[in-house]
């Protein structure tokens, strides 16, 4: 990917990173449309600045920053999202494609995690960032990122098993 230098280059990158970015954005907003708006804004901003696409920490930090800006800008939206986050029921627009009910339960368990743990989990599992990259993206230490990840897994294991 790093050797491609043509105008269509972004399509290659986005095809690979897009789903993971949208999933990450959805940790801040429940609506798919809002998440895609965030990803569009962040990706265009990132691409225009000519950052290295290898700098995934910065790309995810940009998505996060755009998402938080959006939430801050729109107080009504923030309230709505906060209320939505409090709802324990599964979102009407699932974040994943499921093969069976077990996966549906697991996704629901992920959904119930605190956002601090969820964002680390999403970056680690479905975007394959290292803890160092996650730390850079969230402006936290590598150890803190790893710690949140462990807490997320422990919590999932506990909740998922109890729901099985």
């Amino acid at each position: 990917m790093e050797d491609v230098a043509i105008d269509e280059n972004w399509k290659v990158c986005f095809a690979e990173l897009g789903p993971g970015l949208v999933l990450f954005a959805r940790q801040f907003v429940r609506s798919v449309a809002d998440a895609e708006d965030i990803v569009q804004d962040a990706f265009v901003r990132f691409w225009k600045k000519e950052h290295s696409i290898e700098n995934r920490a910065l790309l995810f930090a940009t998505v996060r920053s755009v998402a938080l800006d959006l939430l801050r800008r729109d107080a009504r939206r923030a309230r709505r999202e906060a209320n939505a986050a409090l709802e324990v029921e599964q979102s009407t627009q699932p974040q994943f494609d499921f093969d069976d009910d077990s996966q549906r339960e697991l996704a629901a368990a992920v959904d119930r995690l605190p956002v601090e743990q969820r964002e680390v989990l999403v970056m680690k599992i479905w975007n394959e960032l290292t803890f160092a990259e996650i730390g850079d993206a969230l402006a936290i230490s590598q150890n803190t990122a790893a710690s949140r990840y462990r807490y997320a897994l422990a919590s999932l294991k506990k909740n998922f098993v109890s729901h099985e």
Binding site: E2, V4, A5, I6, D7, N9, W10, K11, C13, F14, A15, G18, P19, G20, L21, V22, L23, V32, E36, V39, Q40, F43, V44, F46, W47, K48, K49, E50, H51, S52, I53, E54, N55, P94, Q95, F96, D97, F98, D99, S102, Q103, L106, A107, V110, L121, I125, W126, R150, L153, A154, L156, K157, F160
Partner: protein, 170 residues
């Protein structure tokens, strides 16, 4: 050993939903809206070279003022030559009419001598009296001010002065 490897494997089986096809199109339009289509990670960042127009203008104004003042200074007092034994770097200042310099008015001259060297006794041609030659290095700073706008102009330059002091033979 990772206690959660089985759970991690289960999580990885969950596939994030694909982004809608419209998103890619929207990004394409947004990128096309820019004049150039940058390529992340490939092109080096352009360096923005900006000219400090204010600094450049001030510098040019100072140079122009200096040229005007120097010219006025050389044009004044023709035929009035000094007979003193001293060579001084001309100081273009004081009696120049304000009209000749536009609206800038001189407000100060500072001379800082930072070095003096005694070059010994000399016998100028045509005289029997010896003189002592002193060479001084200094920095002169001229300042002007525009009373209308309050703008000030400052010009600083190094200069050298050679002074001949008559030595009385006793």
């Amino acid at each position: 050993m990772n206690d959660h490897s089985e759970l991690e494997a289960e999580l990885k089986k969950l596939r994030p939903r694909a982004a809608s096809p419209g998103l890619s199109t929207r990004i394409e339009h947004a990128l096309a809206a820019t004049a150039t289509t940058p390529s992340a990670g490939v092109l080096s960042k352009r360096r923005n070279s900006r000219i400090n127009w204010f600094g450049l203008g001030l510098g040019l104004a100072a140079a122009a003022a200096f040229v005007v003042l120097a010219r006025v200074n050389t044009d004044r007092t023709p035929g009035k030559t000094q007979s003193v034994l001293g060579v001084t770097t001309p100081v273009p200042f004081t009696t120049v009419a304000p009209e000749a310099r536009g609206s800038f008015v001189p407000i100060g001259l500072t001379q800082v001598v930072y070095g003096t060297r005694d070059e010994g006794l000399h016998f100028p041609k045509g005289t029997d009296q010896p003189v002592r030659r002193l060479r001084s290095q200094k920095r002169e700073t001229l300042q002007w001010r525009n009373p209308t706008t309050g703008t000030s102009l400052r010009l600083s330059y190094p200069s050298e002065e050679v002074t001949f002091i008559p030595v009385s033979g006793q």
